[in-house]
């Protein structure tokens, strides 16, 4: 029997090959047949989740609630020291330097990445701006978000901090960060669907030991993950609770 793994579509495109090699490695280590099925966006991912066609997923924190509470997924492992932080950028020449100076009716360039958009929207609250006060310009990737801001088609943009940090100096010169989140609590996690739950211990053992061998470590590096650590179900539940506090009231 073959199982299906997918990756939250907010992974960096240059890490695709790493995830494919990871899938091969995991099959070899666990002797479980796993097919890696990449999705193009969060809408396609939601369809896959609804159709119960995923058995293993590296999930965005905002998708973890549905997967665990509605689809009976279980937490498997999480990457050590990797957190999702958000940057709100504006044009480098914009005289505004603080969030509090922003006014409603903002045009906001953003991707469809849910936790980044949630955090970005929360960081506008000190300016009395909420999701009703913004015009969302949905972009296919973070560089497009920056381009919209640079072109003046958006007043601000929401970016994953890691994506902003990897922009070229040319792009960085044309935008400026207004604020960067420092919350240290949102992170992706590898979750296991109901069909694979009898293999949970085996998979956890393989993943935890991954950093102990040279090939495994090289592979983790290629995915920009230091190592995996076990994520208890209770921890996942509290992550869901945390996301719940951040969702619009």
């Amino acid at each position: 029997m073959s199982y299906t793994m997918t990756i939250s579509p907010d992974f960096k495109p240059d890490l695709i090959s790493g995830w494919y090699i990871f899938n091969t490695w995991l099959q070899k280590q666990s002797d479980i047949a796993i097919h890696l099925n990449l999705v193009n966006d969060f809408s396609e991912l939601a369809q896959c989740i609804d159709k119960d066609s995923i058995d293993l997923i590296y999930a965005n924190p905002c998708d973890i609630a549905k997967l665990i509470r509605e689809k009976s997924f279980e937490a498997l492992v999480k990457p050590v020291g990797v957190h999702d932080e958000t940057v709100v950028i504006t044009h480098a020449d914009n005289p505004i330097d603080t969030i509090e100076s922003l006014k409603p009716s903002l045009r906001v360039a953003m991707t469809d990445v849910p936790d980044v958009n949630t955090m970005g929207t929360i960081m506008l609250e000190p300016a009395d701006i909420n999701s009703c006060d913004i015009e969302a310009i949905i972009c296919s990737n973070y560089i497009t978000v920056a381009k919209k801001v640079v072109a003046g088609e958006a007043d601000i943009g929401f970016l994953l901090a890691d994506a902003y940090n990897e922009f070229s100096s040319l792009v960085k010169k044309q935008v400026k960060p207004l604020i960067t989140s420092k919350i240290d609590v949102l992170h992706h996690a590898l979750l296991l669907g109901p069909n694979l739950q009898d293999k949970k211990s085996l998979l956890q053992k393989c993943l935890i030991m991954m950093a102990d061998d040279t090939k495994g470590m090289a592979l983790l590096n290629s995915m920009e993950i230091e190592k995996w650590e076990i994520m208890e179900q209770d921890e996942a539940e509290f992550l869901i609770d945390l996301i719940d506090t951040l969702s619009p009231s």
């Binding site: 509090e100 420092k182 609770d241 506090t245 951040l246 009231s249």
Partner: protein, 158 residues
Amino acid sequence: MQDMKIEDLASDNYEEIQLTFFDAKQRNILYTEIETEFPEGSLIVSRTDLNGIITHVNKSFVTMSGFTEEELIGQPQYILRHPFMPHEAFSDLWETVQKKEKWYGYVKNLRKDGGFYWVYATVIPNIRNNKIISYTSVRRKPSAKKIAECIERYPTLF
């Protein structure tokens, strides 16, 4: 929970008042008018048990409260209660979360050094198997306009 100490205060210019909490415990509060700005981009996160005893705090909570983590764990959440805050706000909070609903509001918190900081707080019950096992509270930076409204309105709720 100990009374506040003069030597912990950030200023010699302070007021003194005794607060009585829902469990009939009392605390002598020393407070100043020194405000600490909410750290940009941060969230203050804590968890309490069903009795409001702090079981988990994040770094931002520790920094903003002025206490150490060791001083906070095991203490009642009302260690942060500022005398400016109307009792009714917290009654409403407890009534709401005990109904398994989300509570949110603007809160002026007391620091160990007698100073204060405003937050926009959200509290949710942590429900497992249809039972509340604890509460999670997340505070974020509030808007200055909303705080100005609270400063006007809260004293009328006493």
